[in-house]
């Protein structure tokens, strides 16, 4: 118990901010590395989840928010499910993304937030997803037309099979959905 109390005293405004937004107690992390050991995408991250938690404990705001880690996290929830201190690390990653976007920080992984923004702009307009619109916007804006040619024939096949409808469908309550977006800030 003494260790827990001492750990809880760690003092940093950034730690407070992330704790509050994610509703987690990041100072409880004692770096067992279980999260990073089980993370399917840690190999592609700058630091890995356990080091991100440590950097938050230290208050290293800029390094954390600029890291590729917060956008590469696939939200698979393996880390939080296994954490012996019950830190829901995927919620921490969500909080970090939200702070990074709100503060307008540049990121090495600009296409991930771009994708999420486009996805939500379509839902705001139609009330539902429309994959053809999403791809029509994402591919040119991401400037990532040619890095992944292998999926193009499969995309065409999906259109032919009716799995990517070309015409969008707008729900009747799309104005309600738009209001939800506006009230959510």
């Amino acid at each position: 118990m003494e260790l827990r109390e001492r750990a809880l005293k760690v003092d940093s405004p950034f730690l407070e901010m992330v704790n509050q937004r994610s509703r987690q107690l990041i100072q409880l992390c004692y770096h067992c590395h279980k999260c990073t050991a089980g993370c399917p995408v840690a190999f592609a991250m700058d630091y890995g989840p356990d080091r991100v938690l440590r950097m938050i404990q230290f208050g290293w705001k800029e390094q954390v928010l600029n890291s590729s880690d917060i956008w590469i996290c696939a939200s698979c929830e393996t880390c939080g499910t296994r954490c012996p201190n019950e830190i829901d690390i995927a919620r921490v990653m969500d909080a970090l993304r939200q702070i990074a976007v709100e503060e307008g920080l540049p990121t090495k992984e600009r296409n991930v937030p771009l994708f999420h923004n486009l996805f939500l702009s379509i839902v705001k307009r139609l009330g539902r997803m429309h994959e053809a619109s999403l791809m029509g916007l994402y591919f040119p804006l991401s400037r990532d037309l040619f890095s992944d040619l292998s999926i193009i024939p499969k995309g065409v096949k999906m259109i032919l099979k009716g799995k990517i409808p070309l015409l969008p469908h707008r729900i009747k309550g799309s104005d309600e959905v738009e209001k939800i977006f506006e009230r959510s800030g």
Binding site: S75, A90, L120, Y138, D148, H169, G173, S184
Partner: protein, 278 residues
């Protein structure tokens, strides 16, 4: 049995075969589905990455519509299911945040209904014994690995479904159909579906690993209950058919299956070698 039904966006697009087979199978099993009217997108990974209030409010509108039906809600997409369960937990357990969401959406959550994936409905409520007794064409000789992915089993305190490390219901269901589910250690490993477009290189790495592990286990196909896994797994490789568990139930129950042609990797050549398809 009567349930409300929230197909979600994927089942009207990339996962048409999941929608077709789920509806056909549930009808055969005596379930009446009422599609909730004028449903919206749940916001999926994009909403919770950028805006927490929105990530709860979009599913809350769906719960508001489902609440009027006063029966349990079936959500076949693992991502929608996960977001609906996350929202339900906040509405039930956190008055401050729940109240805010209710104000944003303009409704009052009274509850009295559960959100369930079809695997829960078929495996637990209808029951595997009853399913087994209805099998007309046992899937003999079909060697499969059950692939859950992430969103159906994690976080366990939110989805409250199966053991997050070693779920077994899908294996037992495949057994009840006469197929041969194989042991492997990757049933709940992530396929990278949320990065499928933005970091295709990472998605490709994860898919390649899963498929090679399924092959090592001796599988002829992988079986999933998540449309995001299914499309990611079909997009990023050529060899391993990716089947929805509902398609296999339909096959075993002798339903005139009209969904195989929707696949990018056609499973019919495999099924023909086992005399399971014309």
């Amino acid at each position: 049995m009567r349930f409300s039904y929230y197909p979600g966006c994927s089942l009207q697009a990339t996962a048409l075969e999941y929608d077709l087979s789920t509806r056909a199978v549930l009808q055969r099993l005596g379930v009446e589905l009422i599609e909730i009217p004028d449903w919206n997108c749940c916001g999926a990974s994009s909403a919770h990455s950028l805006n927490e209030t929105l990530a709860l409010a979009l599913p809350a509108r769906i719960l508001a519509l489902a609440q009027k039906e006063e029966v349990d809600l079936i959500a076949p997409c693992a991502a929608c299911f996960n977001r609906l369960k996350t929202t339900e937990k906040v509405l039930r357990e956190d008055p401050a945040r729940g109240g805010k969401i209710e104000r944003v959406v303009g409704f009052k959550y009274v509850g009295g209904f559960e959100v369930r994936p079809p695997l829960d409905l078929i495996g637990n409520l209808i029951g595997l014994e009853r399913l087994h007794n209805m099998v007309q064409r046992p899937l003999s000789g079909l060697r499969l690995v059950a692939y859950y992915g992430c969103l159906l089993v994690r976080p366990p305190e939110v989805v409250q479904f199966e053991d997050p490390e070693n779920p077994q219901l899908l294996n037992r269901l495949l057994q009840a159909l006469g197929a041969e589910p194989l042991e492997w250690s990757y049933a709940t490993d992530c396929c990278g579906g949320s990065l499928a477009l933005t970091r295709g290189d990472l998605a490709k790495t994860l898919v390649t690993k899963l498929v090679s592990k399924a092959q090592e286990a001796g599988a002829q196909a992988m079986v999933t209950a998540c449309p995001l896994c299914q499309v990611n797994l079909e997009m990023r490789q050529e060899e391993m058919p990716m089947l929805y568990f509902t398609e296999l139930i339909g096959l075993a129950l002798g339903i005139d299956e009209n969904w195989w042609g929707k696949h990018l990797i056609d499973p019919r050549p495999l099924l023909r070698t086992l005399d399971l398809s014309d």
